[in-house]
Structure formats: structure tokens, C-alpha cells
């Protein structure tokens, strides 16, 4: 599904992330862990094309998309939920969803499906998205990404800064989505428990490079903690 080969990226001339080889298979959930500043978000931004790759390649379903703009990668089946519960703050909740559904044949049905998945949003459709709580905005951000009918969902710290009861809902949603099939997930997450429970494989980033990787299961948490030097 997703294949990164020797990928380097950063800002200006300084490479934050270097020599990344990473794969996400079909219907697979893969976690990326690492401390703040390890380069996780920078790596995801390069994967979706928000910053250019300094070297290496990004391939989606075997096709090289390294030079494609982000909106084309989204059309190719990549969806990205950035860090920080980002939404279009001055648009209403419904407008945030319609923005992505516009031009899709099943637009209304797709919105209805997401409202069934996140029923808390149903009563907030007319509210300006910037006035929603952090948890509601995160649900809106995931719903907006899913309306694009992705084959690869990229989530950047979906539970960061969210009240605990909503965290549990979001974790359950991610696990549920992965279990349905037809969707691969690349998950950046600080909560080791969730990251290792949801994923079948993991990568640990340290200093912009892969410090460790393997399959989740017994011994994985010890390995991750050692790689992160916790």
C-alpha cells in the first residue's frame, strides 16, 4: 500500500528525517512512535506531500507519488488527519464535511455514514467548527478524512490533548476502522498502549532515523521503551 524508500525530508536545507525505509501493507495498521522532535510529524508531512522530499521516494500502491501535490495524493486514496485537531475554524461543522463531499457521487451518503460513526457531531452541524471542543474537532477531522474514501488513513497523534473519555472513543474508532478491512492505517501516537494495541507492526523514530521496528506482541513494549530510551 505505502512504501517509503530512503526518504529524507525537512525544512529549508536541514534534513529532519533521513534514510527512512517503511512499509504499510494492505489492510495493515502500522504505528510510528518516538519522542517529541524525533521527526514523526515531519515524516508524515512528507508522505502526504505538504513538504517536499529531499531524497528517496514515496510510493502508493506501487506508483511513485513523490512529485505529486497533496490534493492529487488524496485523490489517489491517501487521507491525512494532522496533529492538533485541525479543522476549518470559520466553516460550520456541516460545511467542513460538505467541503470534502462536494463533487463525490455519494457525497450525502458519505456524510451520513460519518455522522453515524460520530453521532456527537449530529447536533453540532450548524456550529462554527472553531467553537467545537478539542475532542469534537478531532472527530470532525477524522470524519472529514474518511469522506475522501481513502485506502490509506494517516493519523498524527489523534488522541493528543483530548479529554480521556473522548480518547477512548477515538481509540475504539481507529481499532474498528482497521478491523473492517479495506483500509490501511499509519498511526503516529505517543500513548504506547494504544499504538501497540491498534497496530500489527511498529517503527520507533529517534533523531530523525528509524531506531527500531518489528511486530507488536510480546516483547514489543520493552523493545519500544529501549529504542526510545524511556
Amino acid at each position: 500500500m505505502l512504501e517509503l524508500r530512503d526518504l529524507s525530508c525537512g525544512y529549508g536545507r536541514s534534513a529532519v528525517v533521513q534514510g527512512i525505509d517503511l512499509e504499510v501493507g494492505t489492510d495493515e495498521v502500522v504505528s510510528i512512535m518516538g519522542h517529541n522532535g524525533a521527526g514523526k510529524t515531519t515524516l508524515l508531512r512528507a508522505v502526504v506531500g505538504l513538504i517536499p522530499a529531499m531524497g528517496g521516494t514515496v510510493a502508493l500502491d506501487g506508483a511513485d507519488v513523490t512529485a505529486k501535490p497533496t490534493n492529487k495524493r488524496v485523490k489517489d486514496g491517501m487521507a491525512y488527519v494532522p496533529q492538533g485537531q485541525q479543522c476549518f475554524a470559520h466553516l460550520s461543522t456541516l460545511e467542513n464535511l460538505r467541503l470534502v463531499a462536494d463533487g463525490r457521487g455519494r457525497g450525502k451518503a458519505l456524510i451520513a455514514e460519518q455522522l453515524d460513526m460520530f453521532p456527537a457531531l449530529k447536533g453540532l452541524l450548524g456550529r462554527q467548527a472553531g467553537l467545537l471542543s478539542g475532542g469534537q474537532r478531532q472527530q470532525l477531522a477524522i470524519a472529514r478524512a474518511l469522506i475522501t474514501e481513502p485506502r490509506l488513513l494517516i493519523l498524527d497523534e489523534p488522541t493528543e490533548g483530548i479529554q480521556p473519555n473522548v480518547v477512548a472513543e477515538i481509540e475504539a474508532t481507529v481499532v474498528d476502522l482497521a478491523a473492517r478491512g479495506g483500509l490501511s492505517v499509519l498511526l503516529v501516537e505517543q500513548h504506547l498502549g494504544f499504538a501497540l494495541q491498534a497496530a500489527s507492526r511498529y517503527y520507533v523514530l529517534r533523531g530523525g532515523r528509524i531506531a527500531s521496528h518489528g511486530e507488536t506482541g510480546s516483547g514489543a513494549e520493552t523493545d519500544v521503551r529501549e529504542a526510545m530510551a524511556i
Binding site: 490534493n71 485541525q86 476549518f88 475554524a89 470559520h90 466553516l91 460538505r98 462536494d102 472529514r144
Partner: protein, 294 residues
């Protein structure tokens, strides 16, 4: 009382002229943040479009109605080309954009001078817009009423497009968060081009309308440019309703100050009021209410 009504009507009339000149800028500057010093020349292009259309067609009434959509296309096309060739390479470089578009404005003025001469030209006012209408004891020229009506139609159309159409949603999304818009599958390049086309097209329409109240010369647009920026800044960046209120307020202030002084002194008075206002409220009349401006 009559004097107050008269000043208010004159203010509304001046305000609608300001609003027409500023509406396009509220998209290109207010929404996109591009300081386009050539906006005045797009207004000037609209003026000359009205002039040329009348030269070709002859009938003042018919040519005015035809010139309005043509003016939109001419202004829009000029803006589209400017965005594609220059401004696209200068996003996030406001000072460079200012200098480049100032240079483009000078070039366009010279092109107009070479094409139509340095002397001002006049467009005949159609028969149905000659004379005045008595409103509450004050006589307003029909041309000014026409411009008021056109400003209302233009503001309504822009508001409806931005608020209720997919294209409008895309424009508002790109203005709000470019990266996030890309991740929503929106081509920000195409939206930038479309926004600039519409904003510059509105300047073209303003130009056509302004030929009803004044003559046209290569520097016509310059006289409206500063006022248009003032309207957008005082109204609050990117807020159409702010631009509407700011335009009417500035027009009324100008009318009130002109009652007891000259037009030049009135302008100085308006500038002083705006400077004081922006000291107290730098964000302008309206801002976005959000918990997070992500």
C-alpha cells in the same frame, strides 16, 4: 433633519462607490492577503472597457449593460494572468508582491496611455440614468442610485457564492488553512486562480460603473486604490460585511466633513479617524470567533 438625511444619502452613495472599488480587493487582499497595487488598474481597465464598448455599439444604455459582464471578464482575465505569471511565485512575500504589482500597475497605465492617449475620455450616460430622484427632500442623481443598486447586487452575489456554493466553500477553506485544504483534496492553486479571477473581475465591473460619474484616464484607478484598501482594512480582513459597513461609514464621514470644509480637508479628516480607529481596534470591525485558529 433634511441636512442629516442629505448627508446620509450622500454617504451611502459615496460608500457604495467605495464598496464597488473595494469588493474585489476584499477577496484578493482580504481573503488571500495579496497586496495587489495593480487593482486600481483593473478598475481602470473596466472604465476603458465601457468606453470601447460604447464606441463599438453606440447606444449608451445597451453598451452599459453589455460592458458590465465584459468588464468582469477583462478585469478577471488580467487578474488571472497576473496571478499565474507573477503572484503565484510570490505568496508569503508581501513586500515583493507589493513592488511587483506596483510595477505592473505602472506598465498598465502606460499601455492605456499608448492606446487611448493621456487625455481623459468620457462615456455617455444612458438616457434612463439622466436626471435625479427626490428622496426625503434630497435629490440624488440616478447614476449614483444605479451604482448603489449595482453594489448591493455585487455584494449579495459574492456573499451567496462564498456562503452557499462548493466553489465558495473551497475559497473559504483555502483562506482558512491552505495545508489543510490540500489534505481535503482541494487544489489550492486552482482556487487561488479562481479567487483572483473573481476579485479582479469585480474591479472591472466597478470600473464600468465608475464611468457614469466621472471621466476615464490612465490614472483613474489610482484615485480609488487607497480608499479601497482602507475599506478592507477598517472592515476587518476577509469580512465582506465589515467592508460594507466600513464603506458606508467612510462615505458618510467624507460627506459630513465635506459639508464644512473642502474635499481635501475632508479626506484628511477621514484618514485621522481611521488612524485613531485602527489604533483602538487593529483587527478592524469584524474578526473570526474561534477557540483555535487552526
Amino acid at each position: 433633519m433634511d441636512m442629516l438625511v442629505g448627508q446620509l444619502l450622500t454617504g451611502l452613495s459615496t460608500g457604495s462607490i467605495l464598496l464597488l472599488a473595494a469588493l474585489g480587493l476584499s477577496l484578493t487582499y482580504g481573503q488571500m492577503g495579496v497586496i495587489n497595487m495593480a487593482h486600481g488598474e483593473f478598475i481602470m481597465a473596466g472604465c476603458y472597457t465601457a468606453y470601447v464598448t460604447q464606441q463599438v455599439i453606440g447606444d449608451a444604455g445597451v453598451s452599459l449593460l453589455i460592458a458590465l459582464p465584459i468588464g468582469f471578464l477583462v478585469g478577471g482575465l488580467m487578474g488571472f494572468i497576473l496571478e499565474a505569471l507573477l503572484i503565484r511565485r510570490l505568496y508569503h512575500r508581501p513586500l515583493d508582491t507589493l513592488l511587483v504589482t506596483f510595477g505592473v500597475g505602472l506598465i498598465l497605465q502606460q499601455v492605456a496611455r499608448d492606446s487611448f492617449g493621456a487625455q481623459a475620455v468620457n462615456v455617455s450616460v444612458p438616457e434612463f440614468l439622466r436626471g435625479g430622484v427626490d428622496i426625503l427632500g434630497t435629490t440624488l442623481p440616478k447614476t449614483r442610485l444605479f451604482i448603489m443598486a449595482l453594489a448591493i447586487v455585487a455584494v449579495t452575489a459574492v456573499t451567496l457564492v462564498l456562503r452557499f456554493t462548493p466553489a465558495g466553500r473551497r475559497i473559504r477553506a483555502v483562506v482558512g488553512n491552505r495545508d489543510l485544504a490540500e489534505t481535503a483534496g482541494i487544489s489550492t492553486r486552482k482556487v487561488d486562480a479562481a479567487t483572483f479571477f473573481i476579485g479582479s473581475g469585480l474591479a472591472g465591473i466597478a470600473g464600468v460603473a465608475l464611468t457614469l460619474i466621472g471621466s476615464t484616464s490612465p490614472t483613474t484607478g489610482q484615485s480609488y486604490l487607497v480608499d479601497a484598501f482602507l475599506v478592507v482594512v477598517a472592515g476587518g480582513m476577509g469580512r465582506i460585511k465589515g467592508a460594507v459597513i466600513a464603506a458606508v461609514a467612510l462615505g458618510t464621514l467624507q460627506a459630513v466633513f465635506e459639508t464644512n470644509s473642502t474635499a481635501s480637508l475632508a479626506k484628511v479628516g477621514v484618514f485621522i479617524v481611521i488612524v485613531v480607529f485602527l489604533q483602538l481596534r487593529p483587527q478592524g470591525l469584524f474578526t473570526l470567533r474561534t477557540r483555535s485558529l487552526a
